[in-house]
């Protein structure tokens, strides 16, 4: 039925990518999920993590922090709070944030916990794509 898969990533700061891809892997809230053309319609919340997509056998990636994705047989629409591209990530800065958050986590109370985990996960994902 569907031949290609069109990936569109949009944030509050505009459209980030809009390309034909072969495969997309999304950081779903309940774990990573892969999407190939012809996928059944799906609406999913996204957590913090890597979004990977393949064009011509080449894999590209970015970090997504929260949002959701609509999957249709021939297109994937990702609406994200924020997106970080590999060239926007400074590994040293992220490493520092990561370490700071790790220490902060030990003393965190319930209120800060979510916020610190969010920072930690973002930094972690950023480090992954810059590696």
């Amino acid at each position: 039925m569907a031949e290609g898969l069109y990936l569109e990533v949009v944030t509050g700061k505009g459209s980030v990518v809009g390309v034909e891809v072969e495969e997309v892997r999304l950081p779903g809230e309940l774990g990573e999920l892969g999407v190939l053309p012809g996928h059944t319609p799906l609406l999913t919340a996204l957590g913090i993590g890597r979004l990977l997509y393949t064009i011509g056998g080449q894999e590209r990636q970015m970090v997504i922090t929260q949002g959701f994705a609509e999957v249709l047989p021939d297109r994937v629409t990702v609406l994200a709070r924020a997106v970080r591209l590999p060239n926007e990530v400074d590994p040293e800065v992220e490493q520092r944030i990561f370490e700071e958050a790790t220490t902060a986590l030990k003393t965190a109370n319930a209120d800060d916990f979510a916020e610190i985990t969010r920072r930690l996960r973002t930094a972690e994902a950023c480090l992954e794509i810059s590696a």
């Binding site: 949009v10 509050g12 609406l43 919340a45």
Partner: protein
């Protein structure tokens, strides 16, 4: 007849004013460009979100508190004005329109104002309207968090049953010389409609992950946030455009005024010279007679 010195002084003062209005026009033009970029950046998100919601709406009979119509009751009207003046009829037409809507009894039983921008805040306070919330000094420095914050406030009031609906009235940016005062319902959410295209046989319901209720819980507030943000950005762009047009007109008027004053000045000067000449000539002729 005015004397030449007064005229000179007036010409100088109008020239000074012209310089100021010209500078303000340039500033507005620069700010407008920035505001337009912001609108262009925010638009894809709001549009895509609306499209997704439209598709969701056409596939499922979903139900959510934010979508439920309530019995007519007390509502909030968010009026988005500007913080600063000198932008032509921008605020005047908006406030007039808002007041007309508030007086029209058909839509709601009673309304409280959420005034955004100093102009609306001052106006509704002076007019003794019930003002539920004021937001001053926000339009001149609009951040990405302002829309969501306002939207969350409205959602909270709606969910707690304090209001039965939220409307927003703002100037929508059309082009440089035109803006349109628009009244829209924010809550309860009216699911955007899908444009008639796409095969209907593919209308299978989505799989939802984690589950429909949880998804709509994030999707719908997100939609409200995006709409408020778009309205704010649109109004900010329209404001700068209105100011630019107003200042351009003021600069032109000042120019015309300078021209007519200069003409008057020259005439007065000429008349004085002529008068003096006549006096000299007739003075010289007098003893000869």
């Amino acid at each position: 007849m005015a004397n030449t010195r007064d005229l000179q002084r007036r010409i100088r003062s109008v020239k000074g004013t012209r310089q100021i209005t010209k500078a303000m026009k340039m500033v507005a033009a620069a700010k407008l460009r920035r505001a337009q970029t912001a609108v262009a950046e925010a638009r894809p998100y709001a549009d895509t979100l609306a499209k997704v919601l439209a598709r969701v709406a056409s596939r499922t009979e979903y139900d959510h508190p934010l979508l439920k119509r309530r019995e007519a009751g007390h509502v909030w009207v968010v009026v988005i004005s500007s913080d600063k003046g000198l932008c032509g009829s921008f605020n005047a037409s908006l406030l007039r329109e808002a007041e007309r809507e508030l007086r029209a009894p058909a839509q709601w039983d009673g309304a409280e104002i959420v005034a955004v921008g100093r102009k609306a805040a001052d106006y509704f306070k002076a007019q003794d309207y019930a003002v539920a919330h004021e937001e001053r000094e926000i339009m001149s420095n609009l951040g990405p968090e302002d829309g969501p914050r306002l939207a969350q406030m409205c959602i909270k009031a709606f969910n707690s049953g304090q209001v039965s609906g939220v409307w927003v009235i703002y100037n929508r940016f059309i082009n440089l010389i035109r803006h349109e005062t628009t009244l829209e319902r924010l809550l309860p959410i009216e699911p955007p409609r899908m444009d008639e295209r796409g095969p209907t046989d593919e209308m299978v319901d989505y799989l939802y992950e984690p589950d429909p209720a949880a998804l709509l819980d994030t999707l719908l507030p997100g939609y409200v946030e995006a709409r408020v943000q778009t309205a704010l950005l649109d109004s900010a762009a329209a404001e700068q455009a209105a100011r630019m047009t107003a200042m351009e007109a003021a600069t032109k008027n000042a120019g015309e005024m300078i021209d007519s004053l200069t003409l008057l000045y020259n005439r007065t000067r000429q008349a004085a010279i002529t008068k003096e000449l006549i006096e000299i000539v007739s003075g010289a002729q007098a003893p000869a007679e």
